[in-house]
Protein backbone atom coordinates (compact mmCIF):
# COMPACT_ATOMS: atom_id res chain seq x y z
CA UNK A 1 0.00 0.00 0.00
CA UNK A 2 1.23 3.46 -0.86
CA UNK A 3 2.58 5.14 2.25
CA UNK A 4 2.16 8.88 2.51
CA UNK A 5 4.00 10.96 5.08
CA UNK A 6 1.90 13.93 6.24
CA UNK A 7 4.26 16.44 7.85
CA UNK A 8 2.91 17.99 11.04
CA UNK A 9 4.40 21.25 12.32
CA UNK A 10 3.35 22.91 15.56
CA UNK A 11 0.36 24.85 14.27
CA UNK A 12 -0.59 22.61 11.34
CA UNK A 13 -4.34 22.05 11.27
CA UNK A 14 -5.23 20.27 8.02
CA UNK A 15 -3.31 17.06 8.67
CA UNK A 16 -6.48 15.11 9.46
CA UNK A 17 -8.17 16.35 6.29
CA UNK A 18 -5.13 15.19 4.32
CA UNK A 19 -5.11 11.84 6.10
CA UNK A 20 -8.79 11.32 5.49
CA UNK A 21 -8.42 12.09 1.77
CA UNK A 22 -5.45 9.76 1.41
CA UNK A 23 -7.34 6.99 3.24
CA UNK A 24 -10.38 7.50 1.01
CA UNK A 25 -8.20 6.89 -2.03
CA UNK A 26 -6.88 3.61 -0.66
CA UNK A 27 -3.44 4.72 0.47
CA UNK A 28 -2.08 4.94 4.00
CA UNK A 29 -1.23 8.27 5.62
CA UNK A 30 1.07 8.57 8.56
CA UNK A 31 1.80 11.77 10.49
CA UNK A 32 5.43 12.86 10.57
CA UNK A 33 6.35 15.28 13.37
CA UNK A 34 8.44 18.24 12.21
CA UNK A 35 11.48 17.24 14.26
CA UNK A 36 11.81 13.99 12.27
CA UNK A 37 15.00 13.82 10.23
CA UNK A 38 14.18 11.03 7.76
CA UNK A 39 11.34 10.21 5.40
CA UNK A 40 12.68 6.74 4.70
CA UNK A 41 9.92 4.30 3.79
CA UNK A 42 7.45 6.86 2.43
CA UNK A 43 6.30 6.87 -1.18
CA UNK A 44 4.87 10.40 -1.14
CA UNK A 45 4.92 13.40 1.17
CA UNK A 46 2.25 16.00 1.90
CA UNK A 47 2.80 19.30 3.71
CA UNK A 48 -0.71 20.18 4.90
CA UNK A 49 -2.36 23.49 5.62
CA UNK A 50 -2.43 25.40 8.86
CA UNK A 51 -0.24 27.92 10.62
CA UNK A 52 3.14 26.25 11.04
CA UNK A 53 5.02 27.82 13.95
CA UNK A 54 2.14 30.28 14.29
CA UNK A 55 2.97 31.84 10.91
CA UNK A 56 5.20 34.18 12.92
CA UNK A 57 7.41 36.49 10.87
CA UNK A 58 5.90 35.20 7.58
CA UNK A 59 3.94 32.06 6.77
CA UNK A 60 6.50 29.28 6.35
CA UNK A 61 9.47 31.41 7.40
CA UNK A 62 10.19 29.44 10.57
CA UNK A 63 8.88 26.07 9.36
CA UNK A 64 11.58 26.13 6.74
CA UNK A 65 14.13 25.59 9.52
CA UNK A 66 12.35 22.57 11.05
CA UNK A 67 14.59 19.47 10.86
CA UNK A 68 12.07 17.61 8.68
CA UNK A 69 12.65 20.11 5.88
CA UNK A 70 16.11 18.66 5.19
CA UNK A 71 14.44 15.27 4.79
CA UNK A 72 11.80 16.79 2.48
CA UNK A 73 14.60 18.33 0.42
CA UNK A 74 16.36 14.93 0.16
CA UNK A 75 13.11 13.16 -0.70
CA UNK A 76 12.35 15.72 -3.42
CA UNK A 77 15.85 15.61 -4.88
CA UNK A 78 15.48 11.85 -5.35
CA UNK A 79 12.33 12.47 -7.37
CA UNK A 80 9.83 11.64 -4.63
CA UNK A 81 6.40 13.25 -5.05
CA UNK A 82 5.91 16.20 -2.66
CA UNK A 83 2.70 18.18 -2.33
CA UNK A 84 2.35 21.43 -0.36
CA UNK A 85 -1.23 22.53 0.29
CA UNK A 86 -1.95 26.10 1.42
CA UNK A 87 0.45 26.66 4.34
CA UNK A 88 2.46 23.73 2.95
CA UNK A 89 2.84 25.68 -0.32
CA UNK A 90 4.05 28.70 1.65
CA UNK A 91 6.58 26.51 3.47
CA UNK A 92 7.89 25.09 0.17
CA UNK A 93 8.40 28.57 -1.31
CA UNK A 94 10.16 29.81 1.83
CA UNK A 95 12.37 26.71 1.73
CA UNK A 96 13.29 27.49 -1.87
CA UNK A 97 11.84 24.20 -3.15
CA UNK A 98 9.34 26.17 -5.24
CA UNK A 99 9.83 29.61 -6.82
CA UNK A 100 7.99 32.79 -5.82
CA UNK A 101 6.27 33.86 -2.63
CA UNK A 102 2.78 34.16 -1.17
CA UNK A 103 1.69 37.61 -0.05
CA UNK A 104 -1.34 38.88 1.83
CA UNK A 105 -4.51 38.72 -0.27
CA UNK A 106 -5.18 41.75 -2.42
CA UNK A 107 -8.35 42.65 -0.47
CA UNK A 108 -6.65 42.08 2.91
CA UNK A 109 -9.40 39.69 3.97
CA UNK A 110 -9.26 36.02 4.90
CA UNK A 111 -10.90 34.09 2.05
CA UNK A 112 -12.84 30.88 2.65
CA UNK A 113 -14.85 29.94 -0.43
CA UNK A 114 -15.06 27.53 -3.36
CA UNK A 115 -12.96 28.61 -6.35
CA UNK A 116 -12.91 27.40 -9.92
CA UNK A 117 -9.46 26.34 -11.07
CA UNK A 118 -8.27 25.66 -14.60
CA UNK A 119 -5.71 22.94 -15.22
CA UNK A 120 -3.02 24.72 -17.23
CA UNK A 121 -0.39 21.99 -17.27
CA UNK A 122 -0.56 18.25 -16.77
CA UNK A 123 3.18 17.74 -16.46
CA UNK A 124 3.28 17.57 -12.67
CA UNK A 125 2.64 14.87 -10.10
CA UNK A 126 -0.55 16.65 -9.04
CA UNK A 127 -2.18 17.41 -12.39
CA UNK A 128 -1.00 14.40 -14.43
CA UNK A 129 -4.37 12.61 -14.27
CA UNK A 130 -6.42 15.73 -15.09
CA UNK A 131 -7.24 17.09 -18.53
CA UNK A 132 -5.63 20.24 -19.87
CA UNK A 133 -8.19 23.03 -19.59
CA UNK A 134 -10.34 21.05 -17.16
CA UNK A 135 -12.20 23.18 -14.61
CA UNK A 136 -12.14 22.04 -11.01
CA UNK A 137 -14.08 23.47 -8.09
CA UNK A 138 -11.81 23.45 -5.05
CA UNK A 139 -12.08 25.56 -1.88
CA UNK A 140 -9.54 28.11 -0.69
CA UNK A 141 -9.00 29.05 2.93
CA UNK A 142 -6.23 31.60 3.35
CA UNK A 143 -5.10 35.12 4.21
CA UNK A 144 -1.72 35.06 2.46
CA UNK A 145 -2.43 33.41 -0.85
CA UNK A 146 -1.51 36.04 -3.38
CA UNK A 147 1.19 34.44 -5.49
CA UNK A 148 4.00 36.65 -6.68
CA UNK A 149 7.37 36.29 -8.37
CA UNK A 150 9.50 38.41 -10.67
CA UNK A 151 8.53 38.69 -14.34
CA UNK A 152 11.46 36.60 -15.51
CA UNK A 153 10.49 33.74 -13.17
CA UNK A 154 6.88 33.93 -14.33
CA UNK A 155 7.94 33.78 -17.97
CA UNK A 156 10.09 30.75 -17.22
CA UNK A 157 7.29 29.02 -15.29
CA UNK A 158 4.87 29.62 -18.17
CA UNK A 159 7.36 28.50 -20.82
CA UNK A 160 8.15 25.30 -18.94
CA UNK A 161 4.53 24.45 -18.17
CA UNK A 162 5.07 24.79 -14.45
CA UNK A 163 2.01 26.89 -13.67
CA UNK A 164 -0.16 23.84 -13.17
CA UNK A 165 -3.39 25.47 -11.91
CA UNK A 166 -4.90 28.93 -12.42
CA UNK A 167 -7.89 30.66 -10.86
CA UNK A 168 -10.71 31.31 -13.33
CA UNK A 169 -11.83 34.30 -11.25
CA UNK A 170 -8.76 35.48 -9.38
CA UNK A 171 -9.87 35.83 -5.73
CA UNK A 172 -6.68 37.07 -4.07
CA UNK A 173 -4.62 39.08 -6.55
CA UNK A 174 -2.23 36.28 -7.49
CA UNK A 175 0.06 37.28 -10.31
CA UNK A 176 -1.15 35.88 -13.65
CA UNK A 177 -3.96 34.06 -11.74
CA UNK A 178 -1.47 31.47 -10.48
CA UNK A 179 -3.01 28.99 -8.03
CA UNK A 180 -0.39 26.24 -8.13
CA UNK A 181 3.16 25.76 -9.40
CA UNK A 182 5.59 22.88 -9.85
CA UNK A 183 9.36 22.61 -9.61
CA UNK A 184 11.47 21.97 -12.68
CA UNK A 185 11.14 18.18 -12.46
CA UNK A 186 7.40 18.34 -11.77
CA UNK A 187 7.65 16.19 -8.64
CA UNK A 188 7.21 19.04 -6.16
CA UNK A 189 3.92 20.93 -6.38
CA UNK A 190 2.37 23.62 -4.23
CA UNK A 191 -1.10 25.12 -4.40
CA UNK A 192 -3.19 27.41 -2.20
CA UNK A 193 -6.57 25.64 -2.76
CA UNK A 194 -7.39 22.53 -0.72
CA UNK A 195 -7.97 19.44 -2.92
CA UNK A 196 -8.23 17.30 0.23
CA UNK A 197 -11.41 19.22 1.10
CA UNK A 198 -13.00 18.49 -2.26
CA UNK A 199 -13.41 14.75 -1.92
CA UNK A 200 -17.19 14.34 -1.87
CA UNK A 201 -20.06 15.89 -3.80
CA UNK A 202 -22.07 15.68 -0.57
CA UNK A 203 -19.67 18.27 0.86
CA UNK A 204 -19.66 20.51 -2.21
CA UNK A 205 -17.19 19.01 -4.65
CA UNK A 206 -15.27 15.85 -5.46
CA UNK A 207 -12.94 17.61 -7.90
CA UNK A 208 -9.94 17.19 -5.61
CA UNK A 209 -9.97 13.47 -6.29
CA UNK A 210 -8.49 13.62 -9.79
CA UNK A 211 -5.56 15.63 -8.42
CA UNK A 212 -4.83 13.47 -5.39
CA UNK A 213 -5.42 10.23 -7.32
CA UNK A 214 -2.77 11.25 -9.83
CA UNK A 215 -0.44 12.25 -7.03
CA UNK A 216 -0.85 8.94 -5.16
CA UNK A 217 -0.36 6.92 -8.35
CA UNK A 218 3.15 8.36 -8.58
CA UNK A 219 3.75 7.20 -5.03
CA UNK A 220 2.40 3.75 -5.91
CA UNK A 221 4.80 3.52 -8.85
CA UNK A 222 7.67 4.06 -6.43
CA UNK A 223 6.63 0.78 -4.77
CA UNK A 224 7.14 -1.31 -7.85
Amino acid sequence: MTRVGVVVFPGSNCEYDAQSAVDALGAEAQFVWHSTTSLEGFDAVILPGGFAHGDYLRPGALARFSPVMNAVRDFASKGGPVLGICNGFQVLTEAGLLPGALQKNRGLTFLCQPTTLIVTSTSSVLTRAAQLGQELVIPINHFSGSYTCDDETLRQLNDEGRVVLRYRDNPNGSKDDVAGVANEAGNVVGLMPHPERAMSTLLGSADGRVLLEGFLEVGARALR
Partner: protein
Protein backbone atom coordinates in the same frame (compact mmCIF):
# COMPACT_ATOMS: atom_id res chain seq x y z
CA UNK B 1 30.09 44.40 23.38
CA UNK B 2 26.40 44.76 22.59
CA UNK B 3 25.34 46.90 19.68
CA UNK B 4 21.76 47.95 19.27
CA UNK B 5 20.75 47.35 15.68
CA UNK B 6 17.56 48.16 13.79
CA UNK B 7 16.49 46.03 10.82
CA UNK B 8 13.88 47.45 8.47
CA UNK B 9 12.15 45.04 6.11
CA UNK B 10 10.16 46.53 3.25
CA UNK B 11 8.55 45.13 0.14
CA UNK B 12 10.68 45.53 -2.94
CA UNK B 13 9.77 48.27 -5.39
CA UNK B 14 7.16 46.95 -7.81
CA UNK B 15 5.79 44.35 -5.38
CA UNK B 16 2.14 45.07 -4.61
CA UNK B 17 1.56 46.35 -1.08
CA UNK B 18 -2.17 46.10 -0.30
CA UNK B 19 -1.56 47.18 3.30
CA UNK B 20 0.26 50.37 2.30
CA UNK B 21 -2.35 51.12 -0.38
CA UNK B 22 -5.20 50.73 2.11
CA UNK B 23 -3.52 53.06 4.60
CA UNK B 24 -2.91 55.59 1.84
CA UNK B 25 -6.56 55.51 0.78
CA UNK B 26 -7.68 56.08 4.37
CA UNK B 27 -5.58 59.19 4.93
CA UNK B 28 -7.63 61.81 3.02
CA UNK B 29 -10.75 60.79 4.96
CA UNK B 30 -8.87 61.60 8.15
CA UNK B 31 -7.87 65.00 6.86
CA UNK B 32 -4.29 64.16 5.91
CA UNK B 33 -3.86 65.44 2.40
CA UNK B 34 -0.78 65.22 0.22
CA UNK B 35 0.59 61.90 1.49
CA UNK B 36 1.65 59.47 -1.23
CA UNK B 37 3.67 56.29 -1.76
CA UNK B 38 2.80 54.70 1.58
CA UNK B 39 4.63 51.40 1.97
CA UNK B 40 4.09 49.16 4.97
CA UNK B 41 6.96 47.13 6.39
CA UNK B 42 8.41 45.54 9.51
CA UNK B 43 10.94 46.81 11.98
CA UNK B 44 13.10 44.65 14.26
CA UNK B 45 15.34 45.79 17.12
CA UNK B 46 18.22 43.53 18.09
CA UNK B 47 21.11 43.63 20.52
CA UNK B 48 24.03 42.06 18.70
CA UNK B 49 27.19 40.99 20.46
CA UNK B 50 30.18 41.93 18.31
CA UNK B 51 33.66 43.44 18.59
CA UNK B 52 32.78 46.42 16.44
CA UNK B 53 29.77 48.23 15.07
CA UNK B 54 30.68 47.07 11.56
CA UNK B 55 30.77 43.46 12.69
CA UNK B 56 27.39 43.86 14.40
CA UNK B 57 25.87 45.31 11.24
CA UNK B 58 27.38 42.51 9.16
CA UNK B 59 25.87 39.90 11.49
CA UNK B 60 22.51 41.66 11.45
CA UNK B 61 22.58 41.91 7.66
CA UNK B 62 23.27 38.18 7.36
CA UNK B 63 20.40 37.16 9.65
CA UNK B 64 18.10 39.70 8.04
CA UNK B 65 18.72 38.15 4.64
CA UNK B 66 18.48 34.58 5.89
CA UNK B 67 15.45 34.88 8.15
CA UNK B 68 13.92 38.30 8.78
CA UNK B 69 13.22 39.01 5.12
CA UNK B 70 12.16 36.96 2.13
CA UNK B 71 14.55 38.11 -0.62
CA UNK B 72 11.99 37.13 -3.26
CA UNK B 73 9.74 40.03 -2.27
CA UNK B 74 11.48 42.03 0.44
CA UNK B 75 14.56 44.19 1.00
CA UNK B 76 16.26 44.42 4.38
CA UNK B 77 18.09 47.51 5.59
CA UNK B 78 20.23 47.48 8.75
CA UNK B 79 21.42 50.43 10.82
CA UNK B 80 22.73 51.15 14.30
CA UNK B 81 20.16 52.43 16.70
CA UNK B 82 21.11 55.80 18.09
CA UNK B 83 20.73 55.70 21.86
Amino acid sequence: MNHSVVVEVTLRPGIADPEGATIERALPALGFAGVANVRAGKLFRLDVEAASAEEALEKARALAERLLSNPVIEDAHVRLRSS
